[in-house]
């Protein structure tokens, strides 16, 4: 177990170094932020001076090396756009993204699994058929379109929910939360629906497919033959075995939620890390982009490691294999 964790930590360092390198290779094709930083009528010399101060005139490997050396000491530099430390900016935006992703993830599980079970147990019923149809729409509609549709219906036509922002937030230490105010909770509804929709339909369809598969297996037939109640068969025996692939996919998709949050945050002006990243891209704010990409790759590594550890908890066979391998 310890060996596994140490290996993962070492791997994650390499993953982050690689991500930063790829990022720096891409920044070359992003153009030049200097035009956004000087006066429109600034002279060529002034522009060159700014470029020099930012280190943009230096070769790529030197810029990369300097970034890594400073990042290793926890210093991600100052944002060129906001003139504020990148670490402060990310820390300020993290709670917004974390709360949005958390709500979307919980929604997708809490709704996705029961709906999946429902459609598996009564595949020919009207609700199951219509859910299947709706899920098809959910899985194929681009998220920004659903976002705009949600705004059109619930903000513009009905006027029930806000179309942008986080509502009122409460500061608890450095963490700003929208969970404790009515406006904050209302503001969470549309963005989290938009963000979870794809995930939810995916989990629902996955649970349905797995469940149908499991229900055909011999041990279920045997359980029926033993005269166990339907409830016991479906939820104690079948569901447990359905959940292992669901957890794998959910873990992988959690990273996807953070990535897709960029789109959601842009549509709903959600002041999270994704919105910060998009602004950095349109400005050419290299320190923010580099730090964000490294941070997201770290989050991916952590999620995947956690999922791997969870397998062992859920599936006894893996524990046995692991123990044997250690000898």
């Amino acid at each position: 177990m310890l060996g596994f964790l140490v290996r993962r930590v070492i791997q994650s360092v390499f993953v982050m170094l690689a991500v930063a390198l790829i990022a720096f290779l891409m920044f070359r094709f992003m153009g030049d932020p200097v035009n956004s930083m000087v006066a429109e009528n600034a002279s060529t010399e002034e522009r060159a001076a700014v470029r020099e101060r930012l280190g943009l005139d230096q070769p790529l490997w030197l810029q990369y090396g300097r970034f890594v050396a400073r990042a290793a000491q926890g210093d991600f530099g100052l944002s060129w756009r906001n003139a504020r430390p990148v670490s402060t900016l990310l820390a300020e935006r993290f709670p917004a993204t974390a709360e949005l992703v958390l709500v979307a993830a919980v929604l997708s599980l809490v709704l996705g699994i029961p709906l999946g079970i429902l459609t598996a147990l009564r595949p020919r019923s009207f609700p199951a058929q219509s859910l299947q149809l709706i899920s098809l729409i959910g899985i194929s509609l681009p998220t920004f379109v659903t976002g705009i549709l949600l705004i059109l219906v619930f903000s513009v036509w009905l006027g029930w929910l806000p179309s942008f922002g986080r509502g009122d937030v409460v500061d608890i230490g450095w963490w700003s939360t929208g969970f404790f105010t009515l406006a904050g909770l209302k503001a969470l509804i549309l963005p989290s629906i938009m963000l979870c929709l794809f995930q939810l339909t995916l989990i629902m369809r996955l649970v349905r497919a797995e469940m149908l598969e499991v229900l055909r297996t011999d041990y279920i037939k045997f359980a029926r033959a033993r005269g166990l109640s339907n409830r016991s068969i479906h939820f104690r025996h079948a569901l447990k075995n359905t959940l292992i692939p669901v957890i794998t996919i959910f873990g992988l998709q959690l990273g996807g939620l953070i990535a897709f949050a960029i789109v959601t945050e842009t549509v709903f002006q959600w002041p999270g890390m994704g919105a910060l990243f998009i602004q950095a891209v349109s400005f050419g704010d290299v320190p923010v982009m580099a730090a964000y990409l490294v941070l997201v790759s770290l989050i991916f590594v952590i999620i995947n490691t956690t999922v791997d550890l969870l397998y062992a908890v859920l599936d006894p066979r893996l524990r046995v294999d692991g123990a044997r391998g250690a000898h």
Partner: protein, 521 residues
């Protein structure tokens, strides 16, 4: 001015009736970069900080210069201008405005490391004469000093020292400055709170020295990056004023109840610059056909601007033959006249120049900088193709486009120029027409050099006689027009949208001045 007086009279009447607590909810495409008034040169950030900080002189709603923190000024010597400060002005935190504050603020702005120094060129020193009088010492005579000063905001010396912020912020190194997120000015509004990218809240400054035209007690500014969401927030009644309002949604906004568009042609002139160098960047012929004035004229004649105005700009742009807008000093109707669209004449000129079959060249445009920039360029490329030319159109994000323009890696390129903050033809002459050298000619197309234009530009820089100066500008701009250095297209429309309860003048510089805004119950 009369209108303003009437408006302020109306304002006091309303205030007397006891109506107050007017909140204006205002959304823009992005947040301010920071609150330091000398921190960035971004014009949106600058006008936002103008609500909190004030300059010695300011533009009114019609873009005339009027006294602000200075009540009057006189030129003592060509290089020494004396400003008399307004008495009894207080900063939001209670400090009195005095000459030391002006000296520290202006020197902070022109500091070597300040990104704003280009917006106040030629200032050598500030001498304090007495607590309410300062002398500005200049390199040479500066006919447009006051135009520059409209953008030079005054901070409190003691406050800067207390927060260790006398040196300007330099984003390329160093630490976060106190002034980035905190503000203490003399302006009509005070900063109440700021959550970057979520909301900035300003409240009216009850102790403002000026009689407010506005009736606002509170401004809630929210950046909303997505065009569709910004419009939806206006339509749903969550927001009172949006800027910009996307042109493609204008019809929808006009149809909706309770909201309206504010659309006028602004100052920003959209132009195409032409490579005058010895070779083409991306061509299929020897040398550079664009060096021939007949070819450049053919390019101009082949563009049908009426069609672009009607089909792409919803009839809201103002076509022009000049590099400057009518509100800018140096404008004449003769310069503004546009050669009529004539594709046959264009073909004849190309044949005469030796290119009856046309030739290929690079045509570079931004796709996220100006109103409908990409669509305009696509239309122009198609029109040139009709004249037998082969433009190789590249449209890309602004950073990439302007990097190529800086490096002269373009043959024909799009640029928009508003002459801000100068509002003066000298802006175009010095930045876009003078031979590239030192502070001159940053955007002058590669290889263009007209000694007569250079001579006039240098003379205009220091000529204090207004009439003589204007005449020289008209002459220089006329010479450049005959040279077909730039192809002027149009003044692009400004586009805001507001609830019907909001009343706000739309100045041609496209900057939102909420101290002129009124909200009805």
């Amino acid at each position: 001015m009369l209108r303003l007086l009437m408006m302020s009279a109306a304002a006091s009447a309303v205030l007397a009736a006891g109506a107050s607590a007017e909140t204006l909810r205002y959304a823009t495409a992005r947040d301010v970069y920071g609150l330091d008034p000398h921190g960035v040169t971004d014009s949106f950030t600058n006008i936002f900080t103008h609500h909190i900080y004030e300059p010695l002189v300011r533009y009114d709603a019609e873009l005339n210069i009027e006294p602000a923190l200075a009540t009057r000024w006189e030129v003592i010597e060509p290089t020494r201008v004396r400003f008399f400060l307004r008495e009894g002005v207080k900063f939001h935190e209670g400090q009195d405005l005095d000459a030391e504050d002006v000296a520290v603020s202006l020197m902070r702005m022109v500091n070597e490391k300040s990104p704003m120094k280009g917006n106040l060129p030629g200032l050598k020193a500030v001498e304090v004469v007495d607590p309410l009088t300062v002398d500005l010492i200049l390199d040479g005579p500066s006919p447009i000093l006051n135009n520059y000063l409209t953008n030079a905001f005054i901070m409190d010396k003691g406050w800067l020292e207390e927060h260790d912020a006398v040196a300007p912020i330099d984003a390329s190194q160093g630490e976060e400055g106190y002034t980035t997120n905190n503000a203490n000015g003399t302006g009509p509004f005070k900063l109440e709170s700021r959550r970057p990218d979520a909301m900035n809240v300003l409240v009216a400054n009850e102790g403002w020295w000026d009689t407010p035209v506005h009736n606002l007690t509170r401004i809630e500014h929210t950046p909303i990056a997505s065009d569709a969401t910004r419009v939806a927030a206006l339509l749903s009644g969550e927001i009172d004023l949006i800027e910009p309002a996307p042109l493609q949604d204008a019809a929808r906004i006009e149809e909706a109840d309770g909201v309206h568009m504010l659309e006028n042609a602004g100052l920003r002139t959209i132009l195409l610059g032409i490579n005058h160098g010895d070779t083409l960047v991306d061509g299929n012929v020897e040398g550079n056909p664009l060096k021939d004035v007949r070819v450049r004229k053919a390019l101009t004649l082949a563009i049908n601007m009426d069609l672009i105005r009607d089909k792409i700009m919803r009839g809201k742009s103002r076509n022009t033959g000049s590099t400057i807008a009518p509100q800018v000093r140096g404008h004449t109707d003769a310069l503004d006249a546009r050669a009529p669209y004539d594709v046959e004449a264009a073909k004849a000129l190309l044949a005469e120049a030796g290119y009856p079959e046309g030739f290929a060249f690079n045509f570079n445009c931004p796709n996220d900088r100006y109103v409908n920039d990409e669509a305009i360029c696509q239309a122009i490329a198609a029109m040139w193709a009709q004249a037998g030319l082969e433009p190789r159109l590249v449209t890309e994000p602004r950073q990439m486009h302007f990097q190529k323009v800086d490096n002269h890696a373009v043959d024909v390129f799009m640029l928009g120029w508003a002459t801000l903050p100068m509002l003066d033809g000298f802006s175009v002459l010095s930045a876009m027409l003078a031979t590239t050298e030192g502070e001159y000619g940053t955007f002058t197309p590669a290889g263009y050099s007209n000694p007569k234009v250079d001579e006039l530009t240098k003379a205009i820089a220091t000529e204090m006689d207004g009439d003589k100066r204007s005449a020289m500008m008209v002459e220089a701009l006329g010479l450049a027009k005959e040279d077909y250095v730039w192809i002027p297209l149009h003044q692009q429309p400004m586009s805001w949208a507001a609830r019907d309860t909001v009343e706000i003048p739309q100045a041609a510089d496209d900057l939102v001045r909420l101290w002129y805004a009124r909200v009805a119950k």
